[in-house]
Every structure is written in C-alpha cells, then in structure tokens.
C-alpha cells in the first residue's frame, strides 16, 4: 500500500498540482464568486438567473436545439456506421471514408460553420437546389433560425456518433449474427435482438457526447444565428467579455454546468439500466 503510494507520488505530483492550480482552483473561484453579490455572500445571482423567464426561454431553446441535433445525429449516424462496418467490403473504401469522417473533426468549428453560412444563405447552394428542384417556390431563410443552427450542429457532431456506433459494431462478432439467422431469425429480427442491443453502449456514449457538446456549443450558434437566436453559452460569453460581471456570469456558468452534468449522469444511468435490464432478461 504505502510502497505503491511511494511509487505513485513522484509520477502524480506534477500533473495533480497542475490540475489543481489551473482547473480546480479556477472552477472554485467561479463557484465562490457566483455566491457573492455586492461583496457579501448571497444567492441573489442564482435568483436572478432562475427567476427570470428570459433565461428559461434561452435554456429551452438551447436544450431544444441540442435535443433535435442529438436525435438527427443518431438517425443519420447509425445507418452510416452500419453501412461502413457491415456492408462496405473494400478495406480501401472504408479507410477513405474513415479519413473523410475524421477530417471534419480535425477542422475548426469556425471553418465548418462558415461553410454552412455560405451554403445556407439566401442565394446559397441549398436554396438554389431546393428552388431548382421545385421543392420551394422561393428561397427559404435558414440563417437566423433554429433549423439553421441544428443543420450546422448536426454536421459538426455527426462524426462522433458514427465513430462511437461504428467502433461498437466492429467489436460485435459477426458469428453471433450468423447464428441468429441460421436459427431462422429474419434480418430485421437479428438486428433488433442481437446487433442493436450489443451496440447500445456505443450508441449511448455517442449520444451523451453529442448532447453535451451541443448544449455547450458557442461558435456554431453564434455564426448561424445571425444575432436572432440566443443560446445559453452566449449569455455566459456576454457577461465575461462585455459586461464583466463575474458574480452573475459565474451563476450562469454554474447553471449550465450543473444542467449538463445532470443530463450526462441521467443518460449514463439510463444506459446502465438498459444494459443490466437486458442482461437480467
């Protein structure tokens, strides 16, 4: 025990000291300033955040956008992951697709959102195509709408879900699926009772990742909202960059952090409950 401690201590001293100094303490500073108003301890900042209908509207918009983004990512990402892992036979093609999947992940949110600013504009390619094909009579407004933000966020976060599901799927032994169909199950039954449950942990971790990133996204909504829609991270940024009210800003930060952590915890709990429930069956 103490021998192990003696070996661990020199290895851990620097990283732990660093994380305390530049992660834990700054976060504690935010928490403590969120609990101060006018130089005295107070819950006034939280009251200001939580008793104002405007904040609830912003929170609702933030979570609505994040929720839609997550659902769309799962619905689009799952088939692609399945296709790349189970249907594509050529290793070279799969490798190319993986590179193309990772490339957006390695590119800044700015650059990727900026691409959508160009595509979704009034005279952008998307409107030209929709009008050209005859789906729309006249160009539709995407920029400055929640739909525009969702399109941008889905684009940015989709690779996470494809990779999470795909890696889970790649780890499933195809022999299990073969056994199921040998025993007379239809392809759909095999998918429903064998493949899908085995990939569920991968899907859940992808969903949690996408949801947390969507809730805390600042850049994409800022660029695609055209100043018309406010999401929660924008409120935080305003407080620190222009108003510089660290007490009120701290309360906003903590509100976002707590909500995110609660949702992550909830998703993890649902995922675990689902997994154990299935094992018990």
């Amino acid at each position: 025990m103490s021998a192990a401690m003696n070996r661990a201590l020199p290895l851990l001293a620097a990283p732990v000291a660093f994380f305390i100094a530049f992660f834990a303490v700054p976060m504690i500073v935010v928490v403590s300033s969120s609990l101060m108003a006018g130089g005295v301890p107070s819950l006034g900042n939280y009251a200001r955040v939580l008793l104002d209908q405007y904040h609830w509207d912003v929170l609702a918009a933030t979570f609505r956008i994040a929720g839609l983004t997550t659902v769309a990512c799962a619905l689009l990402g799952y088939p692609l992951a399945y296709y790349l892992v189970r249907v594509v036979k050529s290793a070279a093609l799969r490798r190319t697709c993986v590179i193309l999947l990772v490339l957006p992940l390695f590119t800044s949110n700015i650059v990727r959102s900026f691409g959508w600013m160009v595509l979704l504009g009034r005279n952008g390619l998307v409107n030209d195509a929709l009008v050209g094909v005859g789906i729309l009579d006249r160009p539709m407004r995407f920029l400055g709408t929640e739909l525009g933000i969702v399109i941008g966020l889905v684009y940015i976060l989709l690779p996470f879900i494809v990779l999470a599901v795909g890696n889970a799927l790649a780890a499933v032994d195809p022999a299990l699926e073969d056994a199921s169909s040998d025993l007379g199950a239809t392809p759909f039954d095999t998918f429903r009772t064998v493949t899908f449950p085995l990939c569920l942990p991968g899907l859940m971790s992808g969903i949690v990742m996408v949801f947390t990133l969507a809730v805390s996204a600042y850049v994409t909504p800022a660029l695609l909202s055209g100043g018309k829609i406010t999401v929660f991270p924008m409120l935080i940024f305003q407080q620190y960059s222009t108003v510089f009210d660290v007490n009120y800003g701290g309360a906003l930060s903590m509100t976002l952090l707590v909500m995110t952590l609660v949702l992550v915890g909830l998703a993890g709990w649902i995922g675990n409950a689902g997994a154990t429930g299935r094992k018990a069956q």
Binding site: A4, R7, P10, L11, A14, P15, V16, F18, F19, A21, F22, F23, P26, M27, V29, V30, S33, P79, L80, Y83, L84, V87, R95, V98, I99, L100, L101, V102, L103, F106, T107, S108, N109, I110, V111, R112, F114, G115, M117, V118, L158, L163, N167, A170, A171, P187, V215, S216, Y218, V219, A222, L223, F237, Y240, S241, G250, S253, L256, L257, L261
Partner: protein, 262 residues
Amino acid sequence: MITRLLLRVVSWSVMAYLILPLLVIVGSSFTATSYLAFPPQGLTLAWYGRMLGDSSYLAAFGTSTLLALVATAAALLLGVPAALAIARCEFPGKKFLLSLLMSPLVLPHVVLGAALLQYCAALGLMRSFTALLVGHIVIIMPFVLRSVLPQLTPEQRALEEASADLGARPMETFFLVTLPQIRSGLASGAIFAFISSWINVELSIFNTTAEMTTIPVKLFNYVQYTIDPVIAAVSSITIGVAALAIIILDLTVGLHLLSDRR
C-alpha cells in the same frame, strides 16, 4: 433488398453532407470574384497572396502553432506519468483522480474559458500566452490519457518487471521497454491533442487580444463582420493542416477505427 438500397442511399447522402461544406470552402478560395462564389468563377491564387501579405494572419498562424506544440508537449510530460501511476499503482482516490483528469472532455469549454479569464486576471496573467497555454493543456490532457492508458496492459507490465529483474534502473526501463511499447498511443494521443488545441475557439476566445490571437479566433471575429474569399483561403489552409495530421496519423499508427483489427 429495399432496405439495403435505402441504407446505401442514406449513407452516401450523409457522406456527401459531411464533405460538402469543406469542398465549398476550398473551392470558393480559388474564385476570381470579390465575393464568395461556389462553384468558383475563374481561378486565382490572389486570395492566398493577400493572406500571405497580411502579417496579422501569419502572426495568428504562428501563435496557434506555437501554442498547440507547447501545449501538446506539456500534456505529454504531465499525462504520461499520470497514466503510468494510474495503470501501475493502487492508491486511494484513483477513480476520482482519473475522472478529474478526464472531466475537461464533458465540461463546457465556455465555462472553463470564463473561469480561466477571471482566475488569470487575479494572477495578473489576463489575456496572456500563459493563460491560453494552461487552458489548452487542461483540455487536451484527456486525449493523451485516453490513448496511452489502454496500452499499459498487464502483459506490458510483465516486461517492465523482467527488465527491472535484469538490473535495469527505472529510467532505463521506461525509455527502453515502456516507451517503445506505448509509442503508437503516444503518437495518436499527441496528434489528437495538437489538433484539439489548434482548432479551439471556445476556450481561447476569452484570453486572446487583437494583437495576440489564434487563427480560429481571428477567423471567428472576422467572419462575423465580413465574408470574403480571404477567409476561405485561410480556412482552406487549416483544412490542409487537418488533412495532413490525419494522413500522418493513418500512416504512422493507422486509424484503427471501424475495423475489428485492434
């Protein structure tokens, strides 16, 4: 059969959706028009020339690169010992420590950025390179841990013990036995860390100034006011860097994603 076809159509549409915006940016950076046009009209490298003539872009590229390199080096120097301790030693609070070190992955970067702005202001480091650097180290360390930890297996530990039994000093064992075995984890962790720092906006934006800024923050501030082909040219360069990083990653360690080869 219908399902197969549907699956194929959906998959290729999604792939197209993923590639299209990047194509649009790279394509429109070559346009001869003074506004962004895709498909590009005419073909010119003038916007790249304009970018190279603007010292503020070069300075931002310099800051971004230096920041990402120093932050990655520091994350490796702090992260690898931490990973060794977590994989090799039993101590109380180990689980808590690991979640603490991994938590920047789920923490909203805007919150951490705001916290570091306030904290560094109190330390007199507000909007300095140091303030940027410490934040970047915090958010990229999880990538190092995540790729190194799985490689520190019990089998690998047996080799370390053999090395120690044969009389190697701990440092010799680390450099001659441990390091070569975790090389691929180090490489992929380092590349993910580098890129995460190189593309970060949400954290950097709090501690940059008009003079000292990173390339994504500069782009962000610029794009909100004007959109012109210079932006597309700068963006294309960053896409190029990303592509280069992925190809290096694929050729050196291999992107073992979506394949059962592990």
